[in-house]
Amino acid sequence: MLSIPIERFTLDNGLRVNLSHDATTPVVAVNLWYGVGSRNEREGKTGFAHLFEHMMFQGSEHVPKNRHFELIERAGGSLNATTWFDRTNYFETVPSHHLELALWLESDRMGWMLPAMTQEKLDNQRDVVMNEKRQRYDNQPYGDWDEWIQAMVFPESHPYHHTVIGSMADIEAATLEDVAEFFQTYYVPNNAVLTVCGDFGRDEALDLIQRHFGEIARGEEIPAIPGDQNLDPIIGATVRERVEADVPLPRVLMAYRIPPYTDPGFYAADIAGSVLGTGRASRLYRSLVRERRVAKDVTSFVLPLTSGAGMLLAWATGFPEGDPCEIEDALAAEMEGLSSVTDQEIERAVALTETALVRQIEQVGQRADLVSMFDQLFDDPARLNGELERLRAVTPADVSAFVEGFLGAENRAVLTYVPVTKNTPTPSAP
């Protein structure tokens, strides 16, 4: 049982605040979760939550462009932000004596972002984001897999149908009015969780938080997520796509709808994902890589999403002359065969998760992020302390029932990449 100390407060404007003290190293993490992600994007605006995240670094009323980075780096801190389906997070870790700096910067962009927005900044960050898309997706072998998989697992009406990076046409069409509307709708204290974790004085931190965030006005109620979040628990068929692409090796991906993170049934899915794919004793590694040798590597994990369903994903990369059908059959056989899961396998999965979780919370930044997550998703930050127990409680019967219900052919998306050799001659030098 973990015993991370967490004190929770709520400001009058609705901002949820968590303090978690730990004086091991004289550093402090400031972490903000905004309850907005790609699932909140409307048609024609895909990728906007992420573009907006970039704009949050372009300055605010009292902070000129680049100043946020300059000040944090000068203080000896690290910082970043990420956008995901269900949320956007912003975080700094700084030496403890710079806590107020981080709080001031975060509060200024929560309260006073819009006066600093210009067309020039938007144009610049659109270019940056389009290069991010090229670098991380278009110019990467298999880089478009999530676009395929999400579209196969979630229907068009569902908010997880489109990717976080979104469509470049939508990014191109983004305007300053979109920025203003998004900010006023979602970047409000009543849609955010602030966690401070590390070496700080409790009363001083509370005072600083009240001082910097307290005067930011509460926003309107957050609009409902667009589209239809209601889903059948399973896809209802095996759906498949075959992509011939400039990839080095064949690869087969399999994805399944699973219970959402907020459903008690999620934990059996999580354990199933670990038994399949975490570690060298896991089933997929042992079968596909070590014994049958149809794959050079395998991966499997669950996505803990909350709108209607999450996802379990696995993929295996074959050898140059390998047959993708053989990989698909082997993956499917391991998925279905998992109903024979043993106590020992669950014990190993829990032991590996325990080590991984403790290693994660060694860093105040990671710990703060988990606290924010449990607050945002479950309205219960201290839930972090019981997470291992929830996994430990999973029995072989739970996993078998999950496998029967979710890992069969009626709930399967199969995406196969087949290498095609591009036969283009090198242009000769003049």
Binding site: E73, H97, R280, R348, T426
Partner: protein, 453 residues
């Protein structure tokens, strides 16, 4: 709080002191060095065995041998098959991780503190009694060959591999890819792995770093129990003569038809870890391309929107590793991006960084030091660095002071001595039919086009 007061950057609070945690140094009779640090906040321990078994020891015919031998450790021991070994480790929540670099092989694991005895026993078994069954060795060689095939088709792999090859004179280890080539990996077998273990996995020259919720006395006793029987003298360690391929300017395009981006690498031979200008160079590199607010990133990303990011690095090793600026940019702006990068590099060398920049870089580097020492794994990795590079045990005691004492003059001097714009080779992995003409317009030496493998 009202408007005007928000405009003022808040003052820093009271500085809390930070010292690198005390390192307890010890040595076994067989020569194995022990370094331990007690960090008791969480019930976890990281154990990291550092072996003098890097790829830099090997000539080109044996390239990849250190990496492959490390990979093959999962194949089992005298007592356990590979599957049994994995099960034993994972039952106690410990994954074995093997990292092979130019200067070392590290074998490490993390586990809950109450399982450390079992974990150390398994770690010792893997190192002292590795079995390399032919069947497993064949499998792992096949996987490595497939990985090489992947690297040869990956945009990042293509550009980086070409850049290293074009940086060093033929025969210098750093000029080849770390995991070897199809030709050098092909003949690898169980005898080669066993031979490399006998030659380089030796107690003398190795070190075991243990960090976490355990005291030095327990560490000594555990290491003695599990590694006391390890025998053997010191392995070999040839000098690396890291000669450059050329001292002339030049641009090489590695052609990938229809590439949507160009992977750019700019650089030349850099410095060894032992360089006396180590701290000054860290400051210089931070100004150039080592932080978000570096000159390169503010120009290429925040001003021009050419890229998602750009960075500069001195990869310091036992011999002179490469200095390399790397980025990925849109195909249509490739030559513009190369031009901007070259001009930022040239200006920095010619005029030096400003006092303000040096000040900011010193503050940044000194400030982030404790941020990078939060976890048992991070602390262990820092101590491993001391063992690999023969640095003194108290090296980190004044690390921040040494960063803070770098002067403007020292930074200018380091920039001039260690970055030589006229010797830079530019490598562009991208569509030659689009980028060759504009790159020729830069007049940065001859533009050569190569096929991607």
């Amino acid at each position: 709080m009202n408007g005007p007061s928000r405009s003022v950057v808040p003052p820093a609070g009271l500085v809390r002191s930070f010292d690198f945690p005390p390192v307890h140094a010890d040595v076994l009779d067989n020569g194995l060095r022990i370094r331990s640090v007690q960090v008791g906040r969480l019930p976890i321990v990281t154990a990291m065995l550092v072996l003098d078994a890097g790829e830099g020891l090997l000539d080109g015919n044996r390239a990849g041998l250190a990496v492959l031998t490390g990979d093959c450790l999962e194949g089992g021991t005298a007592k356990r098959t590979g599957v049994e070994l994995a099960e034993a480790l994972e039952t106690i929540g410990a994954g074995l991780s093997v990292g092979t670099g130019w200067d070392s092989t590290t074998v490490s694991l993390s586990c809950m503190a109450d399982r450390l005895d079992d974990a150390m026993g398994l770690l010792a078994e893997v190192i002292l009694q590795p079995a390399f069954p032919d069947d497993e060795v064949d499998r792992i060689r096949g996987q490595r060959l497939a990985a090489i095939h992947q690297r040869e088709m990956d945009p990042v792999g293509i550009a980086t591999t070409a850049s290293r090859r074009l940086t060093y004179r033929e025969g210098v280890p750093y000029g080849r890819p770390l995991g070897g080539t199809v030709e050098s990996v092909g003949p690898f077998n169980a005898d080669a792995a066993a031979g490399f273990v006998v030659a380089q996995y030796r107690p003398k020259g190795s070190g075991l770093v243990v960090v976490g919720d355990v005291d030095a006395r327990q560490v000594r006793s555990l290491v003695e129990t599990h590694f006391g029987e390890w025998t053997g003298g010191t392995g070999s360690r040839p000098e690396i003569d890291a000669e450059p391929r050329t001292r002339e300017r030049g641009i090489v395009v590695v052609h990938r038809a229809d590439a949507v981006q160009s992977e750019i690498r700019i650089g030349h031979v850099g410095q060894a870890r032992s360089t006396p200008q180590y701290f000054a160079l860290r400051v210089v590199n931070t100004v150039l391309g080592g932080a978000f607010t570096s000159r390169l990133n503010l120009n290429l990303r925040e001003e021009h929107g050419f890229t998602y990011g750009v960075r500069s690095r001195f990869l310091v090793r036992r011999g002179a590793g490469p200095w390399c600026v790397s980025t990925a940019v849109g195909t249509d702006v490739t030559a513009d991006a190369v031009h901007e990068a070259i001009s930022e590099i040239s200006t920095l060398v010619a005029d030096g960084p400003t006092e303000e920049e040096v000040d900011a870089a010193r503050d940044y580097l000194a400030g982030v030091f404790p941020l990078e020492l939060e976890t048992t794994g991070q602390i262990a990795a820092r101590i491993a660095e001391l063992l690999i590079y023969d640095l003194p045990d108290d090296y980190y005691a004044d690390y921040r002071d040494r960063i803070r004492s770098v002067t403007l003059e020292e930074a200018c001097e380091a920039a001039r001595a260690c970055i030589r714009p006229d010797e830079m080779t530019v490598v562009v992995g991208g569509d030659a039919s689009e980028v060759q003409g504009p790159l020729e317009g830069l007049e940065w030496g001859p533009v050569t086009v190569e096929a991607a493998s």
